[in-house]
């Protein structure tokens, strides 16, 4: 138990350090962009000397860099990222509903794709070489190759327009999120299927599987044991896919007119709304760091000894995987 706690704390500690470094880079965005930071913060307003002066005062631009960073960080902890240049409102309040929409969208997509992807992957692995396997493989191929906008438009046209089962645009209810979530889930579940199938196939031909079979252990238990052994691979790969997912929702959001983080980030970059861009970048950094930490922790909890350094260090020294004679 103590080991587990230690590992979790260490892993989270890692994430926090990474986030600090990232926050420094994100903060520096304003200064890395070409031009005078004060001018960049002007946005679409008229750049009068008074305005520039007031911006300099408001953002403490005349103070040393590290002091500014400290102020910004302090504000960040209180969720105060300043005011959106475009909306004139508090950044966190303005961005919150967009973030909520994207979180829900991604959460739903995740839910669909994990359930669908995992089960199909398991079925494909267990029925390797049969028709079932082929079908699933073809689906996975289509899923990874089909461009997102094509899938989205197809779903929009068929299910929202022709059959009128779902709304065509907007946000606010569960139904608004289903089609976009399915669009995203299409590609992700395909990846999860491939990953799961491959990882599980690796475990299916192992000796411990044979030994379990020889002891008449129920096939469900055997599959669970194989999954458990395959879980580091499956979880880690899936975690990577998911982390990348968060930054790529903009296409789906545009097709379905969903006011989400992706769209907001894109337009904020165009409008040079630096505070909003910083906030969204930080959100994404947090999500990605937390996701990979969570995945690592989950892998460890399920399979502690897979993560531990091999105790037999002589295996380290070159003896092959235990084949000692």
């Amino acid at each position: 138990m103590k080991d587990k706690l230690f590992f979790i704390l260490k892993r989270l500690g890692n994430s926090i350090i990474t986030l600090f470094v990232l926050s420094f880079v994100i903060f520096s965005l304003l200064f890395l962009a070409p031009g005078d930071p004060a001018r960049n913060l002007v946005g679409t307003r008229q750049a009068t000397p008074e305005l520039l002066e007031s911006i300099r005062a408001q953002h403490y631009l005349d103070e040393p860099f590290l002091v500014q960073y400290a102020r910004w960080l302090n504000g960040a902890f209180r969720l105060d990222f300043g005011t959106s240049i475009r909306a004139g409102a508090d950044v966190a309040t303005h961005v919150a509903p967009f973030a909520a929409t994207t979180f829900q969208l991604v959460g739903m997509a995740l839910f669909f794709s994990v359930i669908f992807g995992l089960s199909c992957g398991i079925i494909a692995a267990k029925n390797q070489g049969t028709l079932r396997d082929s079908f699933i493989n073809v689906f996975a191929l289509i899923g990874t190759s089909a461009p997102g906008f094509a899938v989205g438009l197809l779903l929009l046209y068929l299910l929202a327009f022709q059959l009128q089962l779902f709304p065509m645009f907007g946000s606010g209810t569960f139904m608004h999120l289903v089609l976009p979530a399915i669009t995203l889930a299409f590609a992700i579940s395909a990846m999860i299927i491939k990953i799961t199938r491959q990882a599980l196939l690796h475990e299916i031909n192992t000796d411990y599987t044979t030994f379990m079979k020889a002891r008449a252990i129920s096939p469900i238990r055997i599959t669970l044991a194989q999954l458990k052994n395959a879980s580091p691979t499956i979880l880690t790969s899936t975690g990577l896919v998911l982390a990348a997912l968060f930054g790529s929702t903009v296409l789906v959001e545009t097709i379905f007119s969903l006011p989400g983080l992706g769209n907001l980030l894109a337009s904020s970059v165009t409008f040079r709304d630096v505070p909003v861009v910083q906030f969204i970048a930080l959100i994404m950094a947090v999500i990605i760091c937390l996701t990979s930490a969570l995945v690592d922790i989950l892998v460890y909890l399920l399979n502690p000894q897979a993560v531990r350094v091999s105790t037999s260090n002589l295996e380290h020294a070159g003896l092959l995987k235990g084949r000692k004679k």
Partner: protein
């Protein structure tokens, strides 16, 4: 008590006959041995008893347990009533037979039938196999090979089988551990009054531990009967071949030592630590030009680390390696299945080795003659070669840079006895022809006897004894060496 009756067992895979017309009968609680070369079908036979044949095989025959007919092509569900409950199996490799992600205690329990799980005494089960209770809370990776095999045995016994099958159950273990495990299995068999089927390629083992014996060759039973009778007076050629191969090794003359002139390798005070474990502790080794020196010890004794330090794959923490040869020492590894790149043809690999050594590709002829590789193997990939052939390729590859010293790390341990013989003979020839010095690392004393002039005995990172081979084998001084000899076949025969 259980009765097994098998008639006309035929197993084919892709047009090839794996087992032909096998008949097998068992109706008491004795130990039965099944012997044969590797590839003779021993494993397939026992797998057909519990329906664990690989997918693309077809099987036919009559199979009866306790006079009840069982279909050899039955569905999984039906096999599950036989597996574990009637027949239990102990598998060969304890390092892969256990689920690495699950605690040992749980793995043992999982096999117990559901309604008995609550009353199952885990401690008693562990004691039966000679393990302390704390093992339940350990993962298999935290245990040694012997301990793991004991867990496997406990797990197999937890299903309360009426017949136990040990499929090469000790082949992957050390000599000393082998003896312990076999003692254990035979003990259990006697105590539980349970029949045992022992599968092995080691004919001596069968002689010691079984009452009846079946000899398999190329999928057919060629001889069977009372063990002592069959093995003292074999009637069939196959049986004789097995015995001969075995004695070949045991009765081989002692290897000739070299005239000790020049030193080719001198290691002094070598020490290496990996984390908590000390792998080498103040080790001194010398090898002379053209000499063959053996390093013997259990797994974990440090012998592989020593070899790697000499070749340069591992850097010692302390001490030095002085090599006086002109060309760098080459290493041949244990597993011929893993040391060759499966994607390349043999020709490509050897030509690559020649180029790396600065020699022309045309000199391919020379090294394949030295390693006795027939030319038709050149265009094949490793998958199309047998274990012995692959090891020859590895040796040829090692010969490309014309080394003065060759280090063989358990290079014949994964091979059949007959093939072992061939490879060892070839190495001896090489030594004479090329004046090649060989450092042979092994746990097998019989191999050492045949090939090594001098022997260093390693135990727990230290050299405990060092002498001419004959002296070591006939007049061991250190208690560990004595234990080793006692456990090995040399000691017994």
């Amino acid at each position: 008590m259980i009765t097994i009756d098998l008639q006309n067992l035929n197993v084919t895979s892709k047009e090839l006959d794996i087992l032909k017309n096998l008949a097998f009968h068992l109706n008491n609680s004795e130990a039965v041995g099944i012997v044969g070369e590797s590839g003779s079908g021993k494993s397939m036979f026992v797998r057909s008893l519990i329906g664990l044949l690989p997918i693309q095989t077809s099987v036919s025959g009559t199979y009866r347990i306790d006079n009840k007919e069982i279909s050899l092509n039955a569905k999984e569900k039906q096999w599950r009533t036989i597996r574990g409950k009637d027949i239990g199996m102990i598998m060969q490799d304890p390092f892969t037979a256990l689920d690495p992600a699950v605690l040992c205690g749980k793995q043992i329990l999982v096999g117990v039938p559901k309604n008995q799980r609550r009353h199952f005494d885990l401690t008693a089960a562990l004691t039966e196999v000679g393990l302390p209770t704390y093992i339940t809370k350990r993962y298999p990776t935290q245990l040694s090979g012997g301990q793991r095999q004991r867990v496997v045995i406990a797990a197999a016994l937890a299903t309360k089988p009426r017949l136990l099958v040990a499929d090469e159950a000790t082949t992957a273990l050390d000599v000393i551990t082998q003896k312990e495990i076999l003692d254990l299995i035979c003990n259990i068999q006697t105590q539980r009054n349970m029949p045992l089927i022992l599968i092995t390629h080691n004919i001596l083992l069968a002689k010691q531990r079984t009452k009846r014996i079946f000899v398999l060759e190329q999928g057919k039973i060629v001889e069977q009967g009372n063990t002592t009778d069959v093995l003292t007076a074999p009637k069939q050629k196959a049986t004789k071949k097995l015995l001969d191969a075995h004695h070949l090794l045991l009765d081989a003359p002692y290897a000739t030592g070299a005239t000790r002139e020049k030193v080719i390798l001198c290691c002094k005070m070598l020490s290496k630590r990996f984390g908590q474990t000390q792998a080498l502790n103040n080790v001194d080794i010398t090898v002379d030009v053209g000499e063959c020196v053996g390093i013997v010890g259990e797994s974990g004794s440090g012998k592989t680390t020593l070899g790697r330090c000499i070749v340069g794959l591992t850097k010692p923490d302390f001490g030095f390696v002085n090599y006086f040869g002109t060309h760098s020492p080459q290493m041949i590894f244990q597993d011929p299945y893993n040391s060759l790149n499966p994607a390349h043809t043999i020709r490509y690999m050897l030509e690559e080795a020649l180029t790396a050594a600065g020699r022309a590709k045309s000199e391919l002829e020379e090294i394949i003659t030295l390693a006795e590789i027939p030319t038709e193997l050149l265009q094949r990939k490793p998958a199309g070669l047998s274990g012995g052939q692959r090891q020859r390729v590895a040796i040829a590859r090692a010969l490309a840079p014309r080394p003065d010293l060759m280090i063989c790390d358990e290079s014949v341990s994964a091979l059949d006895v007959k093939v072992q013989n061939q490879i060892l003979h070839m190495i001896q020839k090489l030594r004479k022809k090329q004046n090649l010095a060989v450092l042979f690392i092994t746990h097998d004393l019989a191999v050492l006897k045949m090939i090594a002039g001098r022997v260093y005995v390693m135990h727990q990172a230290k050299i405990v004894e060092h002498n001419v081979t004959k002296q070591i084998l006939e007049n061991a001084q250190h208690p560990y060496t004595q234990k080793l000899i006692a456990a090995s076949e040399i000691g017994v025969s």
